[in-house]
Amino acid sequence: MSLVTVAYAVAFYLATIILVGGLIYRIREYATVPSPLKIPTMPAPLTPMGAFWRVVREVIFFESLFKSNKWIWIFGVLFHAGLAVVLIRHLRYFIEPVWFWVVLIQPFGVYAGFAMVAGLFGLWGRRVVVDRVRYISSPSDHLMLALLVAIGISGLIMRYVTRTDVIAVKAFFMGLMRFDWQPLPTEPVLLIHLGLVVLLMVLFPFSKLLHIPGLFFSPTRNQWDNAREKRHLATWAAPMDAQRDT
């Protein structure tokens, strides 16, 4: 067993623990902080089902962003939809036999890789070119884009430039999941690609990637409009309520 294999195996275990544990911690935190008042952005749906669909439309179609700015929307959709297909394509490294629909999506996955990188460059370009977006960008905003671009490009290089032993890569990941470690090929591009993915997983619960769970907990989006019908008393406000004379 090479040192590289051990290092990457340990790194992936730790990264998974941090990613999953961190997300569970954050989601519990978001879920337990009370929402003392009804603040949906109006007009809002009147029913829980309506609010559910509002959130679904935000998640899948980026509805509010579409209203806001067509360029950010196009680049955002290119990146996110591309990433989604790429992630699905990568499922083949973790399942055996590979599901039918994952097989079907394989050829699209490559184009999706290009779409993802193109979207990222679009978003990055705005950060540099548009004075307003330049003003609000921190170094971490550029670094996050750089990280994602590097992951995307290293992936594309493995597909088009170098030849990666994908059978061995799959064996490595299947081995990780079965706690039966298999050697990881030591091609530099692969190691860079996987190393950056580990970094992304670790950063997830501590960074703006929290916009993903955040969206589901955003009161302006997930609340429905029934304030006149139903009281909405937070636990911390209840004592104040109980102290009234009348």
Partner: protein, 498 residues
């Protein structure tokens, strides 16, 4: 600040996004609350020792009490979607008036003390230690936000800068830095019952005067009652309605509507104010206290319904929060929603044929409507989402023959704040108010020139006061602003339903 020390923005044909001009509004800040304004509300009289730590601690407390605050601090990806949505940015070009940058004033400190990235790599993630410089920026720029929620419509995560600016003001209050305008007013409501400090005799005088005026005008004895026990409706209306123009014409209209409907009503001197400025300062506790004055008044007078007059943020607190803050309303007539908006009352009456309106009475006018931010994006009327747009239009169209819409990018859910909301309607912020009104002024000027619009109807006391003040800066007449119920008041045919 002297009146002409600043340049009124140029009105262009189309809304243009200004280039970033750093520090363009760094000189703008409201007067600080005096010691007695602060102590009356239970806040420290001046900036306390060790305020840095206390403010940071309070910030953590807010993040444990408000999910909105907690989630919004994490979720922003700095995509830039909101950067051109705030009227104060559009009117000033100051980058700290971009919603995301306004949030970042607080987020940078939050990150430093409450996130791993900010603790380990502050420079990388834009995290900063709490400092006087940052705190001064908070005071300046959280008082350049009218909490109108326009940014929240366009944010892909629904981040509402109003929530951040309310929390920031609450944090500042808690360490002894309050805004004079809001805190003085909240104190007056606690002591006297309304923002203006108008005592019962003055209130009675005003209402009697209205009765005389209306009778002289129309020959009909319309009542404007105060503290009448057993009245059907308790009217809660912004106190500006009692004396300011064009507000009072709206109040006259409500009285005429109640008169023709044959519904007895009263205002209460105990709760003679619809406004609830504690919304602006982010204080749940004071918002709760002010709201419960209405409950007390309703119980004391034994009314069956509560109806609110035209006021934007008041209607937000009424529609969205009153049930939570001051309910349950099981002692009121269950056939009506609590509270109701006067627009809903009049709309229902129109639908039932219970009111005779002759729109020809307003034929001297071409009218457009300004959707108030808090009515549009923070509350509702009627039974369906969007009735907060449909009802005022229906009421106006029943009262007026010539009605024109402004640019749809500036109305309904995308409406622009008048520029004076959120506790900024004070003379010490005049420059900000004038510049913040730019997007609305441009949209108005367009319909004035294209369609010959003569009047803009508003349904909010703050909008009415703000427009009255800023219209002349843009070369338009202050009397262009009318109350929606002023149009009803002109059109109503008194004596035909009695």
């Amino acid at each position: 600040m002297a009146k002409e020390e600043f340049q009124v923005p140029e009105v262009r044909e189309h809304l243009e996004i200004p280039p970033v001009v750093e520090g363009a509004m760094a000189h703008s800040q409201p007067f600080v609350a005096a010691a007695d304004h602060q102590s009356l509300l239970g806040y420290p009289e001046e900036l306390v020792d060790g305020w840095e730590d206390k403010a940071v601690e309070k910030m953590g407390e807010m993040a444990r009490k408000y999910r909105s605050f907690r989630v919004f601090l994490d979720a922003c990806v700095k995509c830039g979607a909101c950067t051109d949505k705030c009227h104060y940015y559009l009117g000033t070009g100051d980058p700290k008036n971009m919603p995301v940058a306004r949030q970042d004033l607080l987020r940078q400190v939050y990150r430093r003390y409450y996130t791993l990235g900010g603790k380990l790599f502050p420079g990388l993630v834009g995290a900063k230690d709490m400092s006087k410089e940052i705190f001064d920026d908070w005071y300046r720029y959280y008082h350049q936000c009218s909490q109108c929620r326009r940014c929240s419509v366009f944010c892909p995560y629904g981040i509402d800068t109003a929530e951040i600016s309310m929390a920031a003001r609450e944090i500042m209050d808690s360490v002894g830095l309050g805004q004079k305008y809001c805190n003085e007013i909240i104190g007056k409501v606690h002591k006297i019952g309304n923002n203006l400090g108008l005592p019962l005799p003055a209130l009675e005088d005003t209402m009697e005067g209205l009765e005389e005026d209306v009778e002289e005008d129309t020959g009909v004895a319309v009542k404007y009652p105060v503290n009448v026990e057993g009245a059907e409706v308790l009217l809660v209306t912004p106190s500006a309605d009692f004396f300011a123009e064009p507000h009072v014409d709206g109040l006259i209209g409500y009285g005429k509507v109640f008169h023709q409907a044959g519904v007895s009503w009263t205002v209460s001197s105990h709760a003679s104010e619809a406004a609830n400025f504690a919304l602006f300062t982010g204080s749940y506790e004071h918002m709760f206290k002010i709201s419960n004055r209405i409950r007390e008044a309703a119980l004391e007078l034994g009314v069956k319904r509560i109806v609110f007059g035209e006021c934007g943020h008041a209607w937000r607190v009424a529609y969205s929060f009153l049930n939570t803050l001051a309910g349950p309303w099981d002692f009121l007539d269950p056939r009506y929603p609590v509270p109701q908006h006067i627009m809903e009352f009049t709309y229902d009456l129109i639908q039932r044929g219970g009111i005779n309106l002759d729109p020809e009475a307003n034929d001297d006018k071409v009218v457009t409507v300004h959707d108030s931010c808090n009515v549009a994006r923070a509350s509702r009327m009627g039974t369906r989402p969007g009735d907060q747009f449909a009802y005022p239009r229906a009421v106006i169209k029943a009262s007026v023959n010539r009605f024109v819409e402004m640019d749809p990018n500036t109305t309904m859910e995308a409406t622009f704040c008048c520029g004076g909301g959120g506790g900024l309607l004070t003379d010490d912020l005049m420059e900000l108010r004038v510049k913040g009104a730019l997007p609305r002024m441009e949209a108005l000027k367009e319909v004035v020139e294209r369609d010959g619009v003569t009047h803009m109807a508003a349904m909010c006391a703050i909008c009415k006061s703000q427009f009255t003040k800023v219209l002349p800066y843009y070369g338009m007449g202050m009397d262009m602003v009318v109350s929606v119920h002023q149009l009803v008041s002109e059109a109503i045919q008194l004596g035909t339903k009695d």
